[in-house]
Every structure is written in C-alpha cells, then in structure tokens.
Amino acid sequence: MRSFINPLFAVLLAGLLAACSSTPTEEDTSATDTQPTDSQSSPAEPVERPAPSKPDTSNIPVTADNFHNHPSNYDGTTDTKVIYFAFDSNTVPAAAFETLRAHASYLKDNPNAKVRLEGHADERGTREYNVALSERRSEAVQKFLRVQGVSSSQVEVVAYGEEKPAAFGHSEMDWAKNRRVVLNYTAGRP
C-alpha cells in the first residue's frame, strides 16, 4: 500500500511535469511554441490504457505550480472559458488543448461568433510591463485558435495586466488563478 502508485496518476503526473519542464519563460521573447501536436500532449506511454475521454483526476492534488495545467480546470468543451498559465510563461498548457480545440470548432462552425481574449497577469512586477506580458498570453491563445483555422476577424485581443484580478489574495495560489486568458464571447456566445 505504501508504494502503490496509481498508473493513471503516474501518466498524468508525467504529462504535467513534461509540460512544465518544456515551458519557456516569458523573458524569452522569441515566439513560443504554441502549436499543439499529438506528441506534445502524450509524452509518456501509458502502462495501462487510461480511460479514453474523461479520466478521473480527483486524486491529483492541485498546487499553485500545477494549477495552470491541472485537468480539473478544463472540461474539453466551450463551457471552459479560462486558460491558466505558469509563472512567467505564455505557453498554452497541454491540459487546455482539447478545450481550445472545442472553442476553435465552435468559432469555425459559427462565423458570426466573436471572442475577445482577455489576458491577465499576477500582481508581481510593474503594471505596464505586466500589461505587455498578459498580451503575450492572449496572443498565444489567439495563435492556437488561428492554427486551428479560426478566422482572425472573429478574435480580438485585450491585455489587462494585473488590473482585473480574479483572486484578490496574495498567495501563490491566488497568483496562479490570476495568470489567465479569459475567452469572452462578444457575439454568438456558445
């Protein structure tokens, strides 16, 4: 019992770790790799076949470090409208790929729908610099949607920096909740 590790947990954990370790910092200003590929989303071979669609993620503890890539934040549908980011990063987390693909499909199927990608930063650092960082997050999501074939006329980018926090505390977890891009549909909301 002591050494028992749920194989599913191990697979998901490996995925989380891989996503984290491959995350470039935002201080690296060259374009980051936001194009999703299949190899990126499954860096480890499963020992046992995991459940195909909705794995049970309840036993992965949510921490400030894995919050952005925690499966519980993304349901794979357009119901999920917030994408989280690691500290100092504008890399779209792998756990959000399915959700963003759902938004991309919706936007392609509904040419009248328009989405505003609202980028946010945590409170650390200076305000205007954080506006610039949060714009990079919005742009990373925009790039993801564009690669999926979404028309540029359907997507608008706004950068709010640290000015509109979702969590008002000052802990690592509050900051994790504030590093985000909100998909705000301004027309044709799903």
């Binding site: 201080e27 690296d28 200003t29 505003r116 650092g125 200076t126 610039a132 950068a159």
Partner: protein, 429 residues
Amino acid sequence: MMRVLAFPLIVAMLSLLAVNARAELLIQITEGRTDAVPISVVPFAGAGDVPENVSDIVRADLHRSGQFKTLSPKDMLSRPTSKEGLSYRDFRVLNQEYVVIGTIKPTGTGAYEVGYSLHDVARGKELLSETYRPPESQLRDVAHAISDRIYEQLTGIPGAFSTKILYVTHNRGAERPYQLQYADADGARVKTILRSREPIMSPSWSPDGTKIAYVSFEQNGLPKIYVHDLGSAERRVVAQFKGINGAPAWSPDGQKLALTLSKGGNPDIYSLNLNNGDLEQLTDHYGIDTEPRWMPDGDHVVFTSSRSGGPQIYQLNVDDKSVRRVSFEGAYNARPEVTPDGRYLVYVHRRNGSFNVGVQDLQRGTFDIVTQTNMDESPSVAPNGSMIIYGTQHRGTGVLQAVSIDGRVKVELPSKEGEVREPAWSPFL
C-alpha cells in the same frame, strides 16, 4: 419645483464629500533622520476663529519632510506671537535651532491676513518675514507656501509642499471601483477626476501641471489614452490603436507624449506630437518595450525592455534611435523614473523575489535599494528631487509610501479605504 430638485442635488454633493473625507490619506512619518533640524512652529495668534489651522499645517509639513524635528506646542516654555514677545532663550534652552511665529486676522469679506516670521535661535536673528492675504479657500495653500519658503531658506532646496499627488484607487465592491484622484502632497483636499467600472492606469502630469494623461479601459473594456485638462475637466482621446495603448509620459516641453503601442505586433515606444497628432516610432524590437520616461534634456527616453531576456532599463537617443542598456544589477529592473536634475534613475528592482525601489546614480554609477517593503512599484519623484512616492502593500492592501532619495526618511500614507496605487507627484504648480 426648484426646491424639489435642489434637495437630491445637495444630498449627492454631501455624499460625495463624505466619500472624499473617508478616502483621505493619512500621513505619518515612520523613520526620520537622526540629524533632523530642531524647529519650533509656535501656534499662530488669532488662529482660533480660522477654519484652517495654518501653524499646524506648517508644522506637519516640516515634520513630514524628515529634514526637521518639530517641537510639540505643549513642550514650549513660551508661545510668542510677535517679534517683541519672542524670547530666544526659551527656545535655546530646549535646543531649538529655529522658531516660527505668526498671526492670522480676518480682514472682512471672507479673507485673512497671515503674517509669519522665521528666526535663527542661536544667532537671535530674523531670517524671513512675510505677509499673505488669502481668501478662506486658500488658507491651506498659504500654509504650504510658508512651509516651502521655510524649507528653502533652511535647506537651500525649494520646498515641494504646494504640490499635488495624482493616484488611482480601487475599491472592490463599489459600482465604479476604479477612481482617478488627486490630493495635496499632505493627503488633504482629495478630488476625484474619474470613476470607472474598468481599470484606470498610468496617470502622468504635463510639465506645467495643468493637464494629465492616463490610460482608461472605460469604453468597451479597451485601453485608450486620454489627455485631461484639470481646470476645465475637458478631455480627449489621443491614442486608441489596436492592442496596447499604454504608459503615457509627457515630454519636458509638453508638446509630445511618449507611449507604448502594440499595433505593430508587439509593444514598442512611440512619440505622439500632441499639436498635430504625428506619431513617430522610437523603438522597433520584437521584445517588450514599455514604460518610457523622458530625460530632462528632451533628447533621451529611458524605458523598460525585455530585449536581453528579463526586463532591464535602456536609454534611447530620440534623434538617431540608438539604444544602450543602463541597468545591470539583477534580473528584473523596470519602470524607470528620472529625477528632475537628470542625475538619478529610480526604478523597480527584484531581489530574492521581493520588489523594491532602487536608485541608480548616473554620475557615480552606484545603485542602492531605498525601500524595505515588498511589492513596491510605480515610484514617482517630487519636483524638488527630495522624495520618492511609491505604491506598496500593507496587510494585503495597496498603500502609498514615500522615502527620501537617500533612503533615510520614510513616510507612510495609509488610506482609510480601498487600494491606493500608481502615485504621480506633480511638478511645481
């Protein structure tokens, strides 16, 4: 009919006053210089019937500068109100170096005559003697003017007590949580310039102090840069491009705004001519360039750039667009300010995960951290170069603090309500 209408108007005005009074900043000095100069400001004669306590304001001003140690009136051996009644000995005994005495009398028609004099206790000599005749509404202004004169007489540096502080407040839960306000440098006489449901950022003074520029997201949640005339309350949008419209900074001649636009695909510094609307791109780099400030010569702009990785301070030659890095200590240096003499750069520096305000001496090349709080940001320098006001956090709430440029004097300006941030110290008015 008029009577019916007038009542809600009065109520509205009263509630506005109440809000302002509650939001007023309290200023207290937390750390003074050990070599602060002892000075006695004796309560002015005739002050009992005057709506503003002029001598109290002067005493508080001098105390708050950290340069002076003021004596409480209750500790004075005598409280002279005329030169004839002044016994230097009474102040010499208490080791006072200077003494200020004065009188206030009403002159009818709601005006006053305020006379004061400043005396050197050791030499038994008068240094200054002046008379002002303000209307009631300008009694505070006269008090600050007296503080300015005394400060300059005794330090050789013009006083900055008659200046204003512009800042943003955030009161979560209010219908319009974001407010742009300004107050006297001592926190009194708060005025609200703008209330909004959406963020307000980066307020900046025109060099003549008549106008301000700021970023407001009030229209449809998108950022626009406004120029706002404080006298007429008229304003206009000067930048509303696709993407970021941020970080406006007035040029020393008042003709241009440096600003950050991302319309070209990433944040770069531009210069906007306010007379004809001409826009000139000053930087062109795929990294983040933002937070521009003009050097006093008007030929150079300092700014934050991520071109070498993390944010660092760079200086741009506006003429040939050449750029050189000026900050080298640590991995995070951002949001530069320049002292009025151009000698010091003041900016946010990260050290061991803590954000503090640092001062770089451009002549000697030294760099010193002058704040010990955490999450310090948005430093702004007084027009006489003596103090830096900045935003920080106290018990999880945004507050303003001030520190002398040498780090020796610290002043707290806690707000009674909500967050206060992004202070901008006015020029001399």
